[in-house]
Structures are given as C-alpha cells and as structure tokens.
Point group: C2
Chain length 358, copies 2
C-alpha cells in the first residue's frame, strides 16, 4: 500500500499527508478534520502565548482522538536597533493613521517561551511537535523523547537536514523553494539562505540522511504527493491546499486572493515579519520594496506590522494583509479538508492502478 | 510501457529523455551517443554562425542516423548604450590585462541569423528544432512545419506555455527554477521574470495546455524522470546530468566544479551574458556583484566577457568561467551518456515493477 510509509507508521496516521502549521489560520476544526480524515492536522502555534496554546490543544482534543501536531518556532538571535525601528515606524505611519492605530510596543521576551510551550505539549500529551526556523536544543529534544513526543524539524538544504538528523530529530520536513509562508531556513551558505526547488531538494536530502523525509512546497494534489514520494519522501506537508479549505481560518479576502492567483503571483519578501516568506504580491509588499533602510529582524518587524495586518483583515482588505501562498495557487480549491484528502487518495490509487498516460 | 509517451512518439525516439542544447558543450559525440542510446541528442547551436552550424550537423549525422535536435536562440530587442559598455569595459580591465586580452568589438548583426539558421536546418533535414528566449514568429514556424520539422518551445510560466501553444509550437519544454544555465523566460509578470519550481510549474502547465510537455530543471535520475511524468510531463530534458558525462565538451575544471558542488552552490546571475542564468558561484560572479552600474543586455555583456571566459577555460581556471549548473549537482556523475540513460531506464522499470518503499 502506497500510504504505509515510515512517516505514517511513526505518526500513527493512515495517509502520510500533513496539514502545515500555518500560524494564525489553523482553526481547531481544520486540524481535527484533517486528522479525522486520516492525515495529520497541525496547530500553528508559533505566535501563541501559553494560555492560547492550552486552549487550542483542548479545542482540538474535543473534536478528535486522532493524532495531531503542534508547530512551534525556534527563536533566533534578535537584533533590536532603536534607530531602525524609528525609521520603520515613520515609514508605516501613513497606514497606521489611515487605520487609527498607535505605534506598537516591541516585546522581545520570547527567550523562555519555547521551553514553556514544550512543557504544555508534554502536560497535554500532544503526540507530535514540529519546529521551524531552527532546531530545538538537545535538552529539549531529549525531554520530548522522554515523553514519547515525535519531533519533526524543518530543512531547506541538505546541510540543514543533516543538522536536524545529528540533533536527534525524528522526521525532517524538507521545504522547497515553492513553499508559501515563512522560509524555515537557519543555515546560510555563501551568505545566502537556501532556495532549492523540490525536484532537486528531495532526492539530495533522501540520499544524505537516514531518517524519513516529509516534502513541503507546491504540493496540492495526488500528482504532487506521488511525485514527492518517488523523489524520496515518505510523506508530504501541504499548506496552501488547506488554507483555502472550508475549515481554514483564513479571511475570505485571503482565500479569494489565492483562488484568483497564478503560478507567478507570489514573491519572496521580508516586509511583513522581518523574515523571508513567500506571499502574493500586493500593495504593502510594493510599498515596502521602496523603503530605503534596513527592515528590522523578526520578530520586531512582525510586531511593527501586526496591527496594520489585523485591522486590514477585519476590513477584508487584501492590499495590506500578508497573503502567504506557495507557487501552485492554480490548483487551490475551496472544499472541505476531508474532500481534499479523499481526492488525493483517489488520484494516487487511480495512478497506481491504471498507470500514467502521457 | 512508461516510455511510450506523446513526446517519444512525436520525436520518433525510444525513451522520452532529451539532452539539453547546452551551447558550447554539446560535442557531436555527446549528441549522437544520446540519440544512439534511445534518447534525443541536441546540438546547442545558439551561438553558432552558419558555417559552424552546418559542420556540427554533418558531424552528428556521421555518427548516428537516429533523430536529433538543434537548439536555437530567438533574438530579443537589444539595447546598446555606449556609456554602459565603456563602464563595463573599465570594470573588466583588470581581468583583461591579466589574460592579455584586448577590448572586444560588439557585434549586433544577429537579426537575420535565426532565419538563416532555420534555412540550414531545412536544407540538412534536421528533424527537430528547439527554441529558447522566445517564440519564433508564425512565418518561421509554418516554414518548419512545411518541412516536417517538429518545433519545441521553452516556457517558464503558464502564460509563456500558453503563448507557445497559440503560436503553433508542437511541444513545450517547461523550465523550472531549478534549471542550470540561461533562463528561457520571455514574458515578465509584475515586472519580473518567472522563477517557478518544477513541482508547481509542471502540473499547472499540464492543466492549461493541450500539447505535450517536456520537463526541465534539476532532473538527474530515474526518480526525477518518473516524478516529472507523474506531475504531467510526457518527457524530460536534462542538462547538468549530461554536462559531466564523458562525451561532454565541458572543460575538466568545469566538470570537476559540478561534481564537487552541493544543492546550495548555484546562484542566479546576469554577470556573464547580460541574461539571467543559474551557475555555480565563483570569483567572477562575486566580483560583478559589486559592480555599481547596469550590466549591458544580452548579447552585449556576453561578448564583453567572452574572451575572459575562453582564456580562463584554456587555463582550466574555474574562478572566471561560467559554471552553469542546475540545483542537483550532488547527483551528477562522470559516466558515458549511454550509461546515464540506461541507468535511468533501469531505475524507472525497477520502481514500476516493485513499487516504492518509503
């Protein structure tokens, strides 16, 4: 059976199809319905405080007894330059005035957040934790393993995958350049973060590591899933495909923007958060591309733009929202999560049964 | 049979595996041996004058009676700004002095070259012509069709693929962002040329056009070929995989550079030719990245750097050569072209017979 892979066995799921932890958009209904359909739902909890994290885990557990995951951010070194923040605040002031917003207060007290978040995962017996922007330290990985939590890391290059394996991570999510949302990169080479397409990344990582791989980036249907598995993956992670689903928490204007986009609609930008991410080009990205200064690091820029994005989302104004999307929006659909998974399963079984005719 | 695709039928070949027309490196032996092995060899003739083109076609015909292709460049509008050229000449002067080179004379008399090249293809009864950097005009496509030449175009987006189909092209080569060498892009969207990864590009093009697709970019082995076909391609085109082959005309220093590279070794640059291309980062690219001016358009910059690249190639000095490569150099090997093709065929038949175990 194509679906009996190392990943589906290790995660205790029927189909090796993971819904990505898209912070801010993974309503408990989405997470639970993906898991109920035989995939793995993920709470995108990177931005969550501890109370919110507990609430979301409880809400998902109310809806399903199937395994699900929580996705967390590994904090990076933060560089707070007041002059940089002042310049950005001045640059953002026209939007803030138009939306009646005050300048936000920057809060960098995240150093202990990850450890406290993991404590909650242990307390709540969450079976799977996935991480992006880096690798949790060995102490934290050991703690999770002692409590039978499967640990999934993110890699955008062979070197990052090897670092995950060395650190004791159980499963690697390889994020191709096609992926929407934030790049999970954490190791520069020649001064640049990796930007490798999946058809190159998956087989090169598969040859280099011995732990299982989950492929992410641009995968939307049975063709993408089966192709990823042939390239060397034991499963896939899909973000954009579930973002437009009926259970997704994405605003209607955001869903519509994806459903009306094409293969060339997205760009890479650090305008929204201070970290590179792929999203649909809009007025905010264009405006910030003219900014003549350094964009503050994540999470500073994220906090500086957060109010603008929230207020514009309330107005369903896609000009100022972050519209994260991968490079395959032409295959996005507004269906139930269960329908998305069942269709993929049908497509793969059809290809496996009748072969492909090209 | 997996290999009986629309593309293999249309081209009259056994396996739908095309060796890319890598201008400057496609020795007649390489082209002929690929075709003799059941694939399709391609003469990379974009830079050739008419005499050289005739000679290469004759040389390939001496070695094989199987079908082969000739790849040609569709000329773009050229912008010759003398002040720009003067600035670049000054910038390149340290290299020219070190290599005992004079400033070159710029030659833009290429307007009629494509038509004359096609006349030679017709005269020599070349069965297949492939094009990059644009679409030949309808008159030229009609002429080729009247002489039973199969016409292959290049597309880096759905829009470019649709334009190829509308123009009457027979087969579309979709070039993913992973591809080495020059980008074939010719239609900007939002002011930028497309840079879409294969896992996104292939299925979106497959859904949008009704002519067959050949996938290019990052494909190196049976996994890449079969994955591309599942995504929607009826064949593949491989460059880097054949560039390091024994029959390739690439300099030994160039082959070694690829064989010693990793998934993150390449960058996109217009430093060598004035047109964006993917190659292994080296001193020349780093030097030009500090240039404080506009790099002249193709083919002007190509002519300005040509002498430097030739002289450094003669010295096997990979610091100043263009080292075009896709994003999968870790899978490159120095084998015979026939061995590369036979291994791919074996890998696919093994996967088809025994399934994939992940």
């Amino acid at each position: 059976m194509w679906s009996d892979t190392k990943v589906s066995k290790q995660l205790g799921i029927k189909y090796p199809i993971i819904q990505a932890g898209m912070a801010g958009n993974t309503m408990p209904e989405l997470v639970a319905h993906v898991s109920e359909s035989g995939g793995l739902g993920t709470i995108g909890a990177g931005y969550f405080g501890l109370e919110r994290l507990e609430e979301e885990i409880d809400a998902v557990k109310q809806l399903t007894s199937q395994p699900f995951a929580v996705n967390l951010f590994v904090p990076n070194k933060q560089r707070l330059l007041p002059a940089q923040v002042d310049l950005m605040n001045a640059w953002l002031s026209p939007y803030r005035r138009a939306l009646n917003l005050e300048n936000p207060v920057i809060n960098l007290s995240q150093d202990q957040l990850l450890e406290a978040q993991i404590d909650i995962l242990i307390k709540k017996e969450v079976p799977i934790a996935s991480f992006t922007f880096g690798i949790p330290d060995k102490y934290l990985i050991r703690r999770m393993h002692e409590h039978d939590i499967v640990v999934m890391g993110t890699a955008t290059s062979v070197a990052e995958a090897a670092a995950n394996e060395t650190a004791g991570v159980d499963i690697i999510v390889t994020q191709g350049s096609e992926a929407g949302g934030h790049r999970g990169s954490f190791m520069k080479e020649n001064g640049e973060y990796p930007m490798v397409g999946n058809i190159s990344l998956i087989p090169q990582v598969a040859d280099a590591v011995s732990i299982p791989i989950v492929a992410a980036g641009g995968i939307m249907d049975g063709r993408g899933v089966l192709a990823s598995m042939i390239l060397g993956a034991s499963g896939v992670q899909m973000g954009t495909a579930f973002l437009t689903s009926q259970e997704s928490g994405a605003d209607i204007a955001y869903k519509e923007a994806i459903l009306n986009s094409t293969d060339t609609s997205t760009v890479l930008t650090n305008a929204f958060s201070g970290k590179m991410a792929r999203g649909i080009r809009n007025d905010f990205i264009n405006y910030l591309s003219e900014f003549n200064g350094e964009i503050p690091d994540y999470p500073i820029q994220n906090q500086l733009t957060s109010g603008i994005r929230k207020a514009s989302t309330e107005q369903h104004n896609d000009k100022l929202m972050s519209l994260w999307s991968g490079q395959t929006p032409r295959l996005a659909t507004n269906r139930k999560a269960s329908k998305i998974i069942n269709t993929i399963v049908d497509e793969i079984e059809e290809m496996n049964k009748n072969g492909i005719r090209r």
